[in-house]
């Protein structure tokens, strides 16, 4: 093979040489060369070794879908050398060839071929089982594929959303025409082409083709309504025309995933030329007609010296002219439209001779086959189409498409460039029209007050594009390779059929045909036809193939993209940052875990006063006459007699009786309530309330507003909290005026519109101040300033968790799990089964009749220094009797403390427990009388 003088349609830039290496040796190509064309121009013929038999392989299709052109580029394996453009200093090497392409030690497999029969893996590497690790090592060395770089990749990937009216997949003549006319009709169009340039088969055509190409591509590229994506691939079409495109060549990123919601999809993906199955069909030098036309006309590469051509169609005949023009001697043309065919290609490292069906031998180093086309129906299949095989044209044709998907070009039928363009033009106009119908439906789904012109409802007439008659040519009288990637031959398919694999789906899995990196694009039709021949059936006529996304391999990087995960911060965050708070991820919130010394923070709260930012606490403003009814329904306890100024604790259960949230709700006015939920449960509680109000009790007078972000929340806790809060507000804080579990509204630090409630998660006297959030930081800083002499200190989540555990307060989701129903958590008093109805009531009723559920218990180890890790099992012999749900070293008590769920027979106060630690050691513990390890009477918080 060698470089030709300038060709009219060549895509290489001879003024820009590219120096690169192949297996460590220097090579030179030109800008615009694919790796394969640059190497072929320098005489390289063998590009890879086959997967199982390590046979030498060369150019077959010269395109992205060439199974023989997988190479390693730098630390990137499995690069498609028929597609990837050569770059300066690129380091390219062969995969799966050791020690070299020329002398391949593993090529001895060819001699062992008769052992590598279908089902080889199942049969050979089954027993003895003890040798599996050894088999794995052997197979790994023989497996195809390159080497993955283990260093982190510097690549950058992006995601983008697009909303085109019309998306055209495929930039051949019909696709370009469709894009132009859709855009002319006013549609916003995206045109996606897998190759580096628009044009499809026109690119390697004659001067008329090149003229048409120039005209069409100039119209496409200059049209403001068309966005062109080349070197990009539509990888999938999902429900409602949700289309994924892997886009390359975007400045600043290696690859981009475009997620497009397409109003009308035009599939113009054309056809892929099919290989022919015969003895020696995988020898380097056996090429498809499109491969030689690409090599000659796009890359100015002479593909051989002396050729035999097997042609069954017009494009195949055109290849003969191209070969002659390129100075290749055409030794013989075998017309496959008659009875003649090829029986065998022979040679060692490449074709040396061809034997035809008349028994004649022709000396040749190149055998070109043009035996048929496979329609690229992948996207049609994904759109719900079930293309059927048409024997007259020897290809699959579309059966039915949804309203928002159209097809044009070679996937529909054959024709002159003019006919293809006319078809594409009509389809493009129809696509724009259908897009406008969809758009109208979308724009008028909601009344807007804007009058819109209804779309044209008369379909555009599309001229016929018939699939030409074509002989059915799949296999000669000899056996050859069906699946090049997987090294599966027609003989293997016959053997599988003889072994009883009479279903193609089973034969596929048994032989692994269609299962390699090309995923059946080249070989599926041949495989089905030959399997039919072997089983005496005609499965092509009855089968349809399922094509799943992605159409072509996509990188993991582009799927991952750049991750933008939003996080939430309290308005007090600037202060936390200044004090170098240790950040804690709590759901979507980033919160201060502590400010350096959680134990000292606990001590400050217990002995003086502390403040904690609890802004993420869920807050829902409820107004209306029927709020008490709502509260009665969503909480397990009673709410009808909550006076203005009072606060009550409540538990919410799902309809299966499982606890899903808890919190307090206060009555701020006659018809005004404020509900709080856990931080993590805020969204769920809001949704739960909305659900009942909208679907259960739409007549209730309840207005609900989520105000979690509307208020910054600060809990002021500790014996000095009354003194501190009193310095900032006129609200009467005396115990007789503002008692435990009460709420007041008023001005705090000059900020009006605050509400405060007295609750005690930490077990201390405490006021939770809720401030309009714009003033949150202001009030926080005033508290610290005014409380300096009182020993005020900010505390974080960790100190709060220690204190609530000392106090025996459970946390939903920590001390409960997805099966924990209402009873048994120490709050049975709050479950009012005498209420007529509430969410989860029947299950809680039935639970109360049982006694088999676990109880929450305060637990202390005998050895006060041992803190059993959370989730440690409580055991009796080998039986699991419960688990530790929370544990800490208590700075207040100077010993370890736990909460845990235990079986009923071990839940009584004083019960002795055994806790198994992670190292297998079991430690003794006992159940306390109260959940509170500290101040069980609650004198501190009621003070």
């Amino acid at each position: 093979m060698s470089r030709l003088s300038e060709r009219p349609g060549e895509v290489i830039d001879r003024t820009r040489p590219m120096d690169f290496s192949w297996n460590g040796k220097p090579y030179r190509g030109y800008a615009g060369d694919s790796i394969a064309s640059a190497l072929a121009a320098s005489g390289v013929r063998v590009f890879s070794r086959s997967f199982k038999y390590h046979r030498p392989r060369g150019i077959l299709t010269a395109s992205f879908h060439d199974p023989n052109l997988m190479v390693q580029v730098g630390d990137e394996p499995n690069v498609r050398a028929g597609h990837r453009l050569v770059e300066e200093k690129m380091e390219v090497s062969a995969q799966n060839a050791w020690p070299s392409l020329g002398f391949d030690a593993k090529g001895v497999n060819r001699l062992l071929g008769r052992f590598l029969t279908p089902g080889f893996y199942y049969k050979t590497f089954m027993s003895p089982r003890s040798l599996w690790p050894w088999y794995q090592r052997v197979l790994a060395r023989f497996a195809a594929g390159g080497v993955v770089g283990v260093d982190p990749q510097p690549g950058r990937y992006d995601h983008r959303y697009a909303h085109p009216d019309v998306l055209v997949a495929g930039g051949g003549p019909a696709g370009m025409a469709a894009a132009i006319d859709a855009a002319e009709a006013g549609a916003a169009v995206i045109l996606v082409e897998e190759e580096h340039r628009l044009g499809g088969h026109l690119r390697w055509g004659d001067s008329d083709d090149l003229g048409a190409l120039e005209e069409l591509s100039a119209a496409v590229l200059s049209h403001p309504g068309i966005e062109v994506m080349v070197d990009s691939v539509v990888t999938g079409r999902y429900d409602h025309n949700w289309v994924a495109i892997a886009q390359r060549g975007v400045e600043g990123v290696d690859e981009r995933l475009v997620k497009a919601r397409v109003k009308c999809l035009v599939v113009a993906t054309g056809t892929i030329e099919r290989p022919y199955v015969f003895e020696g069909n995988d020898l380097p030098g056996v090429m498809l007609s499109t491969a030689v036309r690409r090599l000659i006309n796009l890359h100015a590469v002479r593909p051989g010296e002396r050729a035999v051509v097997l042609s069954a169609n017009g494009p195949g005949d055109s290849a003969i002219a191209d070969l002659e023009e390129a100075g290749v001697e055409v030794a013989e043309v075998i017309d496959a439209r008659g009875d003649d065919t090829v029986i065998k290609a022979s040679g060692r490292m490449g074709v040396q001779g061809v034997i035809d069906s008349r028994g004649r031998r022709h000396d040749a180093d190149l055998l070109v086959t043009a035996v048929g086309w496979t329609t690229t129906t992948t996207l049609l299949n994904m759109a719900g189409d079930r293309p059927m095989y048409e024997p007259r044209a020897a290809r699959y044709l579309s059966k039915s498409l949804p309203y928002d998907v159209l097809a044009t070009g070679g996937i529909v039928g054959d024709g002159s460039t003019d006919q293809l363009v006319q078809h594409g033009t009509a389809i493009g106009r129809e696509a724009a029209r259908r897009a406008s119908v969809v758009k109208f439906q979308w724009l008028t789904a909601v009344p807007t007050g804007v009058t819109r012109q209804p779309p044209d409802t008369s379909e555009i007439e599309v001229p016929p594009l018939e699939a030409e008659r074509h002989p059915e040519l799949f296999r000669s009288s000899t056996h050859g390779f069906v699946d090049y990637s997987e090294d599966v031959t027609s003989k293997d398919l016959f053997a599988a059929a003889a072994e009883g694999y009479d279903s193609m789906e089973l034969a596929k899995r048994y032989t692994t045909v269609n299962m390699g990196p090309i995923q059946g694009k080249l070989e599926a039709v041949n495989a089905v036809a030959i399997h039919g021949e072997a089983t005496g059936s005609s499965p092509l006529e009855t089968s349809t193939t399922t094509w799943r996304p992605p159409y072509a391999p996509v990188s993991l990087g582009v799927l991952a993209g750049r991750q933008y995960e939003p996080v939430r911060y309290s308005v007090i965050q600037p202060w936390h940052e200044r004090r170098e708070a240790k950040p804690l991820v709590a759901g979507s919130w980033i919160r201060p875990e502590h400010y350096g010394d959680p134990v000292a923070e606990v001590t400050a709260v217990r002995e003086a006063v502390g403040i904690i930012d609890v802004s993420p606490l869920g807050k829902i403003d409820l107004r209306g006459r029927d709020v008490p009814k709502l509260l009665e329904f969503v909480y397990v306890n009673k709410w009808s007699k909550l006076d203005v100024g009072k606060v009550r604790y409540g538990i919410m259960c799902n309809e299966d009786g499982v606890i899903f949230d808890d919190g307090v709700t206060g009555r701020l006015g006659a018809d005004q309530y404020m509900m709080s939920s856990t931080s993590g449960g805020a969204a769920g509680v809001w949704n739960w309330l909305d659900d009942w109000l909208q679907t259960g009790f739409p007549d209730w007078d309840v207005k609900m507003t989520a105000v979690t972000d509307g208020y910054a929340s600060i809990n002021v806790a500790g014996p000095n909290s009354r003194e501190l809060v009193g310095r900032l507000t006129e609200i009467d804080l005396r115990p007789e005026a503002f008692g435990y579990m009460e709420v007041r509204t008023g001005v705090v630090a000059g900020v009006p519109g605050c509400f405060l409630w007295r609750i005690g998660f930490t077990g201390e006297l405490s006021y939770e101040i809720h401030v309009p959030s714009a003033y949150g930081l202001w009030v926080w800083e005033r508290l610290l300033e005014k409380g300096e002499d009182l020993g005020v200190r900010a505390f974080g989540i960790e100190a709060q968790r220690i204190m609530r555990l000392e106090k025996g307060h459970f946390i939903v989701g920590q001390d409960t799990d997805g099966l924990t129903q209402g009873h048994g958590m120490g709050v049975d008093w709050a479950i009012k089964l005498d209420k007529p109805d509430f969410a989860g009531k029947p299950e809680l009723m039935w639970q109360a009749e049982r006694d088999d559920y676990r109880r929450l218990a305060a637990i202390q180890t005998e050895d006060p220094a041992i803190v059993p890790p959370e989730a440690s099992q409580i055991v009796a012999g080998d039986v699991i009797k419960g688990r530790i749900t929370s544990s800490r070293m208590s700075p207040t008590l100077g010993r370890s403390i736990c909460l845990g769920q235990v079986d009923p027979d071990l839940a009584a106060p004083g019960s002795r427990l055994h806790i198994r630690l992670s190292d297998g050691v079991t430690v003794a513990a006992r159940v306390l009388e109260h959940h509170a390890h500290f101040d069980p009477e609650g004198t501190r918080l009621r003070g």
Binding site: Y238, D239, H240, W242, K259, R261, G384, Q441, W442, L443, A445, V446, E655, D656, N687, D690, D691, Q694, T695, G696, P698, P836, D837, F838, K841, P842, E843, W846
Partner: protein, 85 residues
């Protein structure tokens, strides 16, 4: 990713919605166990058209009755529970 024509917000991607599944009527709180657990756990799982509940949680926050073909994902009539608000 489906498109759901929300009667309040127009055509929106289905990831803005929370899928609530088949619409099941809540039996009374005095139901027997079998009736109640049917309500909690048993679904018809039809292959074909069904009316199901979607919650436009990241949009208008309205609960919607959506006709959907469970095989083709075709969407039919979408109506807000309790009418357009």
């Amino acid at each position: 990713m489906l498109v759901i024509l929300c009667p309040h917000c127009g055509p929106r991607n289905s990831d803005e919605f929370s899928f609530q599944g088949e619409i099941v009527a809540r039996p009374g709180p005095a139901s027997d166990q079998e009736t109640w657990r049917d309500y909690l756990y048993m679904r018809d799982n039809v292959a074909g058209w069904q009316t199901e509940r979607w919650f436009h949680v990241s949009g208008c926050r309205r609960f919607l009755n959506v006709e959907r073909h469970t095989v083709t994902n075709e969407i039919g009539v979408v109506t807000p529970v309790g009418g357009v608000q």
